[in-house]
Amino acid sequence: MRDLVRCERVADDLAAAAGGTAVLAPSVRAHVEHCLRCQAEAAQYRKLGRALRAMADDTAVVPVSLVDDVLVALDDDAERARVMGHVRDHRAAYLGGLAAGVAGVASVAGAIVLARARRTAA
């Protein structure tokens, strides 16, 4: 029972040490050296590590349309950017024209008020 508890405690250390991400503490190493179960577990982690590293040379089965889909997405993105650019430009022109129109109306109204005021004064 005590050994099983000890094995359970070092299980995470074995997982950590598998890829060289951690070094076993002396007490853990001492347990592993005398525990066949933990030695077997360490060996399984080494096997798993080799299988994972070997996957680096594999390439997934790539969908046939992948490149075309990416290029279409780039086209769509460029078109969206172009449309948004037009909207921004037209909005700026519209607001500019609107401001000029308001200014024009305001100056005409001001001139009318001024003329009436002069007539009244006269």
Partner: protein, 188 residues
């Protein structure tokens, strides 16, 4: 491969759209492979690849060449994959399903021998891992990224990255290479 990309990268940085398209053709297999491994399924991987190239195109002029173009692209891909999976969590699609999918039916419990069988079973087991664990073990044990870079990619602490990595390895080892006694526990 990297040296042959340099002229295309320079042209793309200068606004040459055709050069960028050629970069897509030359790098899409590896980009998709990374995305497929991180996402665990083909549909999400295809979406991630599209988003990765969009981001790369929008920011290609800022690419300084400190790292290889492929390294820069893979970082973008890993970021896109993380964002994509986080969006799925927020929308609560089938995240619970991802957590509890039991792919053991596809793994022949008898064929624990042979490297080819193990690699085939490993691919299935990786796809069945929770996304957060899968990302770390793929980036560390397949792509050999250092912990600090993985933590930065996934926006987690380095210690959190290590904990997830150890948990992922333990789940994979228990699934694919169970010790006597663990097999009995699985059968229950």
């Amino acid at each position: 491969m990297t040296s042959s990309l340099d002229p295309l990268v320079s042209a793309a940085r200068g606004g040459d759209r055709g050069a960028f398209e050629e970069l897509v053709r030359l790098t899409s297999d590896d980009t998709y492979t990374l995305a497929r491994r991180l996402c665990g399924n083909a549909d999400d991987a295809a979406d991630v690849v599209q988003e990765a190239y969009l981001r790369a195109f929008r920011s290609i002029r800022k690419f300084r060449g400190d790292a290889a173009f492929t390294t820069w692209l893979y970082r973008i891909t890993a970021n896109c994959a993380a964002d994509h999976l986080n969006r799925r969590v927020r929308h609560r699609h089938d995240e619970l399903g991802d957590e509890h999918v039991d792919e053991r039916a596809e793994i022949d419990p008898e064929s624990h021998t042979g490297n080819v069988e193990l690699r085939d079973q490993l691919k299935v087991a990786l796809d069945a891992l929770p996304p957060k664990l899968r990302a770390v073990v793929v980036l560390r044990d397949i792509y050999d990224l250092p912990h600090e870079e993985i933590a930065e990619q996934l926006n987690i602490s380095e210690s959190a990255a290590k904990v997830r990595l150890h948990r992922a390895r333990r789940k994979l080892r228990e699934e694919l290479l169970p010790l006597p006694g663990e097999e009995d526990a699985r059968a229950v």
